[in-house]
């Protein structure tokens, strides 16, 4: 009996740490949180805008039942607003403006009539106020002892099509409320951050005679050519320290995955199947996931880069054409329908290479370009549904999806 119980316990521990298992949390069981504004500066429109951004961030944390009512109260008031007296937590803040135009926020978190957290933030430009809201949510998440949401403060880079053969590369926050076009004009796609610090990025330029991989250092604005290839040239993944890249190239017309050493500039061909091998992704233990049509349809395979052995990684679906990895997890895009005459559905699925579970992450529309966050906590993806292009965030361990629509253009690819 003891053995049985401990076995059961071990199994439940295993399951609880597996992201392919769906977590269903009841909203009612989450602690309540209200937000109070004490700002004397800035106009009402901006104050409400900031409030909404902050409430949205707190919702994305998925650890509170967030009250959406906007309430004003004196910052130094000894008790919370009457309406908020039954809340588990109250976040009170005030926006500040100094003579130089810098934007600041003071915040405190009140619980059971006591101030349990205080923080101050300052940036030199009101236009990037959303990054302050993201930082506030990040700090509250840390204060609550939750797993870090590093991705919330990071920047997203994406390419969007503006017309045939015309695109822009844009840097934004994860909600798309801040957007800065960094490469305009021309036909430039597949941007990919070059390092963890997000100080540089790679992208494919179609404006040269051959597809060309370029590199831009954001702090200096300097651009350099990395490599060209006939047919295809895409940076599919960058390893943790930025020293190695997985490239898809097709020098002889056959798309294959190559390992590129940034320092030595050597490219080593990793796949040699005569069909399509693309979308290489670094995994743990020297493994590389990639998409191949070697079984006659696109599917996800795993290559051991030491032994060269290739094995099928996904055993569900007959049209799995894109993937992203985090350690031993693979999120992949699966074509659910094959309609020639109507709209098709593509959903994202999550698997672990160590279990047999498959978890479907999306339900409707064309969901593609899944990409794990740097800490594996979330997946960002592109959703095209009913003529609208959006960026989606999936909180894997909270079983929640959030969508942030793009006002114009169609997102071509994304990285964060």
């Amino acid at each position: 009996m003891k053995i049985f119980l401990s076995l059961l316990f071990a199994v439940s521990l295993l399951l609880s740490s597996d992201a392919t298992i769906e977590v269903v949390k009841k909203v009612d069981s989450l602690p309540s949180l209200a937000v109070e504004d004490s700002s004397a500066t800035y106009d009402d429109t901006f104050k409400v805008k900031f409030f909404k951004t902050l409430v949205s961030d707190l919702n994305v944390l998925s650890i509170f039942n967030v009250d959406k009512n906007y309430r004003l109260i004196n910052y130094d008031a000894s008790s919370v607003a009457v309406e908020n007296k039954d809340m588990n937590y109250v976040l009170r803040y005030r926006l500040l403006k100094d003579a130089s135009g810098a934007f600041g926020v003071e915040m405190k978190v009140i619980s059971k009539n006591s101030v349990v957290l205080t923080k101050e933030y300052k940036v030199n430009n009101t236009k990037i106020f959303m990054f302050v809201a993201h930082s506030m949510a990040y700090d509250i998440n840390s204060f609550m002892g939750e797993a870090p949401v590093e991705w919330m403060k990071r920047r997203v880079i994406f390419s969007k099509m503006t017309s045939p053969q015309k695109s822009q590369i844009v840097i934004s926050d994860y909600t798309l409320s801040y957007q800065h076009t960094i490469v305009a004009g021309g036909f430039n796609v597949f941007p990919k951050w070059a390092n963890k610090e997000q100080s540089a990025f790679y992208y494919t330029s179609f404006d040269e005679q051959k597809p060309t991989l370029k590199y831009i250092d954001i702090s200096t604005g300097k651009s350099k050519v990395i490599k060209s290839s006939d047919g295809m040239m895409i940076c599919s993944d960058v390893n943790d320290d930025g020293s190695k890249l997985l490239l898809t190239m097709a020098p002889t017309g056959q798309p294959d995955v190559f390992l590129y050493d940034v320092k030595s500039k050597n490219a080593k061909k990793l796949t040699d199947y005569g069909g399509i091998d693309v979308n290489g992704q670094f995994m743990d233990n020297g493994n590389i996931a990639f998409v191949s049509d070697r079984l006659g349809y696109p599917n996800i395979f795993k290559l051991n880069s030491n032994s060269g052995a290739v094995e099928q990684a996904v055993h569900y679906g007959k049209n799995n054409s894109a993937c992203s990895t985090y350690k031993n997890y693979i999120v992949y895009k699966a074509r659910e329908t094959s309609e020639l005459f109507s709209n098709n559905t593509f959903n994202l699925h999550l698997i672990s290479t160590e279990t047999d579970f498959i978890r479907r992450l999306t339900a409707v529309g064309v969901n593609e370009f899944p990409k794990f966050s740097i800490d594996g906590d979330a997946i960002i993806f592109i959703k095209n549904y009913q003529g609208q292009s959006s960026i989606g965030i999936i909180r894997i361990n909270h079983n929640k999806n959030f969508l942030f629509p793009l006002e114009s253009g169609k997102v071509q690819s994304i990285d964060w």
Binding site: S135, D139, D207, I234, N279, A322, F346
Partner: protein, 180 residues
């Protein structure tokens, strides 16, 4: 902690403000200059596109390219396929003839394209396989393969943007471009 938070946000600001006036040089067209109005970027127009006609009797290289490109028929493909179907087979020898004779001094760029179902790498690869099939067929017709380059735009270069099967069929294609 406060300092760390502030300095990290400030670093972000510096990065953003730093990049706003240092957008990378965009080599393409005049539209780019408007798009990066905030950045004083010198935009040069490729000479092949900017040449003006100096004499009505002399055809410039770019005019010649434009004229010959019209003689090179686009090759269309079936849904999810990259082999050249029977309806499109006759276009190959006809195009090969143009490339071997009137356009023999130019290089050829084959541009593979797909319908709108996905902008990921696999779709780009599918477009490339189409271009590669055309390259092999042209080579079999005696066109010098060394003068053929290929590119695939996936779904990013549609000729038709309506959501109809006719439109998607038009987008599954390989275009011929001549290069000086």
């Amino acid at each position: 902690m406060k300092n760390i938070v502030m300095s990290s946000v400030v670093a972000a600001v510096l990065l953003f403000s730093g990049c706003s006036d240092k957008d990378p040089k965009v080599e393409d067209n005049s539209g780019a200059a408007q798009a990066v109005a905030a950045a004083p970027v010198a935009t040069s127009v490729p000479s092949s596109r900017s040449e003006s006609v100096s004499s009505a009797a002399v055809e410039s290289e770019s005019e010649m390219i434009a004229r010959l490109q019209k003689e090179l028929a686009t090759i269309n493909f079936d849904f999810d396929k990259f082999n050249i179907n029977a309806a499109n087979q006759p276009k190959v020898p006809a195009n090969a003839e143009v490339l071997k004779t009137k356009a023999s001094k130019f290089s050829t760029k084959l541009e593979g394209n797909c319908d709108e179902w996905g902008s990921d790498e696999y779709n780009i690869a599918l477009g490339l396989k189409r271009a590669n099939e055309v390259k092999k067929a042209l080579s079999a017709e005696g066109v010098n393969a060394d003068k053929i380059t290929m590119v695939s735009y996936g779904e990013s270069n549609p000729v038709c943007t309506e959501k109809t099967k006719e439109c998607w069929a038009q987008n599954r294609r390989v275009d011929f471009k001549l290069l000086p």
